[in-house]
Point group: C3
Chain length 167, copies 3
C-alpha cells in the first residue's frame, strides 16, 4: 500500500488523530437521531408524507399525517445537534491544525462529546431543567474556547510575519 | 504563481481530489434546494415573512403568509440533505486522509452521490415508498462505512504507537 | 512546544490562515443565533418543551408553550445560516487548498462574511425586500464561484496527469 507521505503525517499527528476520533463519534451520535425519529414516527403513528402512509387503509391515512409531541421532541434534539455539532467539527478541525497541546485538546474534545451525549439523554428523556440547558451551554463554551485559540493563533502568526518583514 | 509545496501535495493526492469533486457536487446539489424552495414559494403563493409580501395588495397579504404542502415537501428534502450530506462531507474528509485505496474511495463517493440525487428525485417527485427510504438508507450506510474505516485506522495507529514505544 | 512541521506549514499558508479567520467568524455569528433565540423565547414567553416552563404556575404553562412570530423569525434566520454558512465553510476549505491568489481569496471570504452579517440584520430587523434577498444571493454566488474554482482545478490536474502519462 502506497500512501502519500504527507497524508501519513497528518494522520500521525496525535491531536489530529484525537480530533478524528471524537469528530466521528459526535457525527455518528447526530446521525442516530434519524433512525430514532423513524422509530417514533412508526410507533406513535405520525408521518409527514402522503407516500409514507399509502399502504394503510384509506380512512386511516389522514389521521396518520400529523405531528406527534414525541416525534417533534426528537426532531428538535436533532436540529440542536446540527446547530452545535457541526460548528464543533469545523472549529475543531482548525483548532487541531493550530498545534495545541494534546492534553488540552483531549480535554476540549472529551468535554464536548460528553456534554452532547448528556444533552441528548436530557432532551429525549425530558429531564428537568437546567440539565439540558447546562449541557448545551458547556458544549457552546468548548467550541468558543477552540475558536478563541484559532483566532488568536492566526493573529499572532500575522504579527510575527509583519515583525520579520520589518526587521 | 507560488503555491506552498505541501498544499500542492494535498491536491495531488488522488483520493483527496476525488473527495473534493464529489463533496463539491453534493454540496452544490444541497444548495440548489434553496432556489427550488423560492420557486415553489413564488408559484404556490406561500411565504413566511411579512416583508416578502409587502408589495402585494393589503387584502391578499394575509392569504399569502401560509404553509403550502409543496413548499413544505421541498423544505423537508432540504433538511434531510443537511442531516445527511454534511456528515458525509465531514466523515469523508477524515476518510480521505486515512489513506484508502482510490477504487474503494471512488465506490463510496459515487454510491453516496448517486443515492442522494435519487433521494431528491424520490422526495420532490413523491415517488412511492420504499424508493426514498432505500436511497436514504444507502447514503447512511456509505457514511457509516467511512466512519468505521476512520475509527479503525486511528485505533490501529494507536496500537502501533504503543507497540513501538514498548519494544 | 513541538508542533509537527507539516501542521505549521498548513497554518503558515496565508490563504489557509485567511480562511481559518473568516470561517471562525461566520461560524461564531451562526452560533450566536442560539442565544438570540433563547432571548426571544424568554422575553416573548414562547417555549417548545414542557420542562422549560415547569417552574411557572400551572395555569400559565399551557399559554407559554406556543410559537411566537419573533421567535420563529430568528429560527428561520438560524436555519438559513445552516443552509448557507456550512456549505461556505466546506467549499471554502477545498478552495483554500486549491491554491488561489491571496487577494482573490480574501475578496471571496470578505464578501461572504459581509453578506451574511447584513443578511442577519435584514432578517431579524425585517428590513424591506430585496435587502435580505440580495444579501442571500451574494453569499450563494461567492460559494458557487469557489466551487467552480475547486472543480476546475481538479479537472485541470486530471487532464495534466493523463497528459504526463501519455507522453
Amino acid at each position: 500500500i502506497c500512501k502519500p507521505a504527507e497524508m501519513e503525517k497528518l494522520m500521525e499527528n496525535d491531536v489530529f488523530m484525537a480530533f478524528s476520533t471524537y469528530a466521528a463519534i459526535v457525527i455518528l451520535k447526530m446521525m442516530l437521531m434519524a433512525p430514532m425519529t423513524a422509530y417514533y414516527r412508526l410507533t406513535r403513528g405520525a408521518f409527514a408524507n402522503d407516500e409514507d402512509v399509502s399502504r394503510k387503509p384509506a380512512e386511516e391515512r389522514k389521521k396518520l399525517l400529523r405531528a406527534h409531541p414525541d416525534v417533534e421532541r426528537v426532531r428538535r434534539c436533532h436540529q440542536n445537534d446540527l446547530e452545535n455539532i457541526i460548528p464543533f467539527v469545523v472549529i475543531g478541525l482548525l483548532y487541531a491544525l493550530s498545534g495545541p497541546e494534546l492534553s488540552t485538546a483531549l480535554l476540549h474534545f472529551r468535554l464536548f462529546t460528553g456534554s452532547r451525549i448528556f444533552h441528548t439523554i436530557a432532551y429525549v428523556g425530558a429531564l428537568p431543567q437546567p440539565s439540558r440547558g447546562l449541557s448545551w451551554m458547556l458544549g457552546m463554551l468548548v467550541t468558543f474556547s477552540m475558536a478563541y485559540r484559532v483566532l488568536s493563533t492566526v493573529l499572532w502568526l500575522c504579527i510575527h510575519v509583519i515583525h520579520v518583514k520589518m526587521s
